[in-house]
């Protein structure tokens, strides 16, 4: 264990936010892509769900409704459940604590995770979309750019709240909370059962959840080609609040 002399630089410049965020996003993506559970949640489950629907010989109308629902499930699974659990265990291992001593800031960490998760979501959505088209999905083309806006806001909202939970609780608690909330949001949060099928008094509350806003927003864009103004507003508020709370509360320490 010999070591050459350390070359002291007279002034130590530092890397830019862009460089650090890019490095962290690439690192996250690399780790996520070789995680078997992650791949299962991102690709196998949603694509399998769509194929199962296809095999039941559903009508085009049902597929047009099912694909946005599967998009929503995939986004919540990737950006919230997986991310929160993964980050919780990163905290427990002390890896994040160490990063807290490097030039990486909380903002860099959060931005890197959002970018990596967004990239994964794009890959997952591509697989879902291709499978959907194969099964007869015919989305409203003018609604696709709007759906991308909805997806971006949803990614920011779910990712930031995943970081809030991962930063506040022990890894085992994060595992339980993230999985529990995932099931609650999917089953009762306006995703599998659309809020339009619920009593008005209940639907008014459910529509304020990020899960219902995401599912309703995607259905509105892709199924009907209309602008989902209220879901966009709801997601923007959840994203702003999530980023604010995550930046204030996230702890590097286990």
């Amino acid at each position: 264990m010999t070591m050459s002399s350390t070359e002291l630089t007279p002034t130590h410049p530092h890397t830019s936010h862009v460089t650090r965020i890019r490095a962290h996003a690439a690192w996250e993506l690399k780790l996520l892509l070789r995680n078997g559970e992650q791949l299962l949640l991102m690709f196998i489950v949603p694509v399998g769900l769509l194929l199962a629907l296809g095999l039941t010989n559903l009508s085009t109308n049902t597929i047009n409704s099912a694909v946005p629902t599967v998009f929503a499930v995939s986004i919540i699974a990737t950006c919230f459940t997986s991310l929160a659990i993964g980050t919780g265990f990163e905290r427990r291992s002390g890896a994040l604590r160490y990063l807290g001593t490097t030039p990486l800031t909380r903002f860099d960490l959060l931005a890197g995770k959002i970018i990596a998760t967004a990239t994964l979501t794009l890959m997952s959505s591509t697989a879902i979309g291709i499978t959907g088209v194969f099964l007869g999905w015919s989305p409203e083309l003018p609604g696709i750019p709007l759906a991308i806006v909805v997806a971006i806001l949803a990614i920011a909202a779910w990712t930031s709240w995943a970081m809030v939970i991962a930063g506040l609780f022990r890894a085992e608690a994060v595992l339980a909370i993230a999985n529990g909330l995932f099931l609650v949001f999917i089953m009762f949060g306006g995703v599998i059962i659309a809020s339009s099928h619920m009593p008005a008094s209940v639907a008014n509350v459910i529509d304020l959840l990020p899960s219902a806003a995401l599912a309703n927003g995607l259905r509105s864009c892709l199924e009907f080609g209309s602008l989902p103004l209220i879901p966009i507003l709801v997601l923007a508020l959840w994203a702003s609040a999530g980023i604010y709370v995550a930046r204030r509360t996230f702890k590097w320490e286990p």
Partner: protein, 300 residues
């Protein structure tokens, strides 16, 4: 130039005060050891200095800047006692990622080879032995070409050869002008390395100085032997100004400047008495004894 300047640092955890008005300085080109019994405030002090924790009050500056300033973090290497590795990553890919966060990093593969880890190893860091994990952590700490190193228990888990190599490496870093702040329970490391020692007790500095200053090396020789020896002949044999006394049962101290002649007088006297002198050395206290005394004072 002072690399680390801490003034009147207070760290509270709720009602508990972990650090209570601590002053500490570490200079470039020096190895400064931070010692103390458990709960003395070492870890809290290091965590604040690394920017991992905020101070309740007081001033902490690294190179005259805030610990969380990007310029500071870009020239600071840290080796934590727990954490510091990404469990499912391989050593080279972890270091390659970290290198991208620094403006002028060392080459990760070269660094790993230099600390004795094969860069091509495909084992995840969580499956490495304790000693191997320590080496990867050390390589990560050296990655930024640091001018300031914080090392928490750096030799824990290392075998004798690896420990010796690490100590050589740290001396070399010190000689290159790096400021090193070291906390450890292995006092032999401190005796081997430290230019300056700060002993903490109950969140405050109990004493600070060089090893010689703290152990009284400049003005005493100590040795062990059977208890209650008659020292009058020894005192008579010593030059004027030297006094021999039994500091504790079986522990003897000769106060006065240590010289080869005085050593010779002591060993000759022991030989004449048929006494086998043990632990013969300069100083009236060992570092271990100092630490034990400090712990006892805390307990009382």
């Amino acid at each position: 130039m002072a690399a680390v300047e801490i003034s009147q640092l207070v760290v509270r955890y709720g009602e508990k005060i972990a650090v209570n008005g601590l002053d500490f300085v570490a200079h470039e080109g020096e190895i400064t050891a931070l010692l103390g019994p458990n709960g003395a405030g070492k870890t809290s002090t290091i965590e604040v200095a690394c920017g991992l924790r905020s101070a309740s009050s007081g001033l902490v500056q690294l190179f005259e800047q805030h610990p969380q300033a990007p310029q500071v973090r870009s020239q600071m290497g840290v080796m934590l006692q727990t954490g510091g590795l990404y469990p499912t990553a391989r050593p080279l890919e972890w270091l390659t990622y970290l290198a991208k966060l620094y403006p002028h990093p060392n080459d990760p593969a070269t660094l790993l080879a230099q600390v004795g880890i094969d860069p091509s190893i495909r084992t995840q860091t969580r499956r490495l032995s304790g000693g191997e994990q320590q080496r990867v952590k050390l390589a990560a700490a050296l990655l930024p070409r640091p001018t300031l190193l914080f090392l928490d228990e750096p030799t824990a888990g290392l075998d004798a050869l690896a420990r010796r190599n690490l100590l050589d490496l740290l001396r070399q870093q010190r000689d290159d002008g790096v400021a090193i702040v070291l906390t450890t329970h292995l006092l032999a490391d401190v005796e081997d390395l430290a230019d300056s020692i700060t002993l903490l007790s109950q969140g405050r500095v109990a004493m600070t100085g060089t090893l010689a200053e703290l152990t009284g090396t400049q003005d005493a020789i100590s040795f062990g032997g059977p208890k209650e020896l008659n020292l009058s002949d020894l005192t008579s044999a010593l030059p004027d100004g030297y006094i021999a006394h039994e500091a504790q049962l079986g522990k003897y101290v000769v106060t006065g400047k240590p010289t080869p002649e005085i050593m010779s007088i002591i060993t000759t006297w022991c030989s004449a008495q048929g006494v086998m002198a043990t632990e013969l050395g300069v100083g009236n206290k060992t570092l271990e004894q100092l630490l034990i005394d400090t712990s006892n004072e805390v307990a009382q």
